[in-house]
Amino acid sequence: MKPKIVPLVALIAAIVSCRKVPDTSELSNQQVVATDRDLAANFSDYNTYFISDSVSVVANDPKDSILTGALAAQLVNAVKTNMNSRGYSFVARTASPHLGLRLTVIKDITRTAICGGWWDGWYGYYPPWYWGCYYCGGYYYPWCTTYTYTIGTSTLYIFDVKNQGTNHNLKALWGATMFGVFSTTNNQTNADLTTTAINQAFSQSPYIKK
């Protein structure tokens, strides 16, 4: 009886594991963009804004805390372009801006090992001893691939500087969190992804306007 049950259980286990693995190459590599607003805020009450030319960076390397140069300018200019198009004017920090914007980029390098089974595209591949082992149909060579990828998360906040209290506590009126896979080697690609995400964040927030 037992020899009959074993292959039957193996067959059932194999059948029910026939779950289709999604083709994730269909997914765009664009960043996921989440925005959050203060429903009580009236964005038309503000005229001017300030954003620093440098971008804060949080990364595995503690020395890597600020982004400057062309890449930072690209990101900051994307913010400025959107703010200007909504009717706000950029002013220096010393000119008492109504709104303060802060852009931060977080790079998180992750290394992971993904181990697959026969359903991952290894149809027809069996270890050499398979053919001599009648009841060993459920066993295959394990294989693992190590992937290194970087998750990039950018945050952009708009703070109410105009109505800051005497203790200078700033209230966030709007925030955008943009996240997704980053290139491990090409920072320009990452800057382009973030630029597109910044534009999308403003696009899905039409209420930000003078």
Partner: protein, 205 residues
């Protein structure tokens, strides 16, 4: 789909009237099917799936009635283009594209009634009742949100057996799978789909 069910009924009862006598003995029957399924929870996904199957055992307690056990599996998947999802109060919005996936594994006891009985074809109607395990996944960028749950399942169906020999033949059926699996994350109150099966049966008597 309605047309298909009606056609199946007509053909089934037609066969009944033509084949009044038979020496076709069914006792212990196994059925293995390839199963196509169309989801009816169209808010989450709606594409018909070709990735599915079922395996059943039926024991005939009368010439016209069987009881048994079975399970089936279906893997649904659909790409959702990038769009903005907003909370009803307008406070939050999310932009991304998704691959939505639902995997269902109903495990059930079944009972079937067989109409008449011809020499070649035997139509039937029946129901399966049991539990359904399901996983719902949303893939986006390189992330995935996954839900797993169990629910009660009911599966009324009509079908047809076509005999090649006393031991072997073809099988086809059409059914409706309703399960009470819920997911708060994906706002799913139940899972339901229509399935169309074609396969083989083998009979031991």
């Amino acid at each position: 789909m309605k047309k298909l069910i009606i056609l199946l009924y007509i053909s089934a009862f037609g066969v009944c009237s033509i084949n009044a006598q038979t020496d076709w003995h069914l006792k212990d029957m196994g059925i293995l099917n390839w199963q196509i399924a169309t989801p009816l929870n169209t808010d989450y996904l709606k594409e018909t799936s070709l990735a599915g199957g079922s395996l059943e055992y039926r024991r005939f307690i009368k010439p016209t009635m069987s009881v048994g056990i079975g399970f089936s599996w279906n893997s649904f998947e659909q790409y959702i283009s990038p769009r903005v999802y907003e909370k009803p109060d307008g406070s939050q919005a999310l932009y991304t594209d998704f691959i939505h996936q639902v995997y269902t594994l109903p495990i059930y006891l079944n009972a079937h009634y067989y109409f008449g009985g011809g020499e070649k074809m035997k139509p039937y109607a029946g129901i399966g009742l049991g539990a359904q395990y399901s996983e719902q996944d949303a893939y986006y960028n390189i992330f995935v949100t996954e839900e797993k749950n169990w629910g009660f399942v009911a599966r009324p169906e009509v079908g047809l057996l076509y005999r090649f020999t006393n031991y072997f033949g073809l099988h086809g059926n059409v059914g409706f799978n309703y399960a009470t699996n819920k997911s708060d994350a994906f706002k799913i109150d139940n899972l339901k789909h229509v399935y169309y099966s074609i396969g083989i049966y083998w009979n031991q008597y």
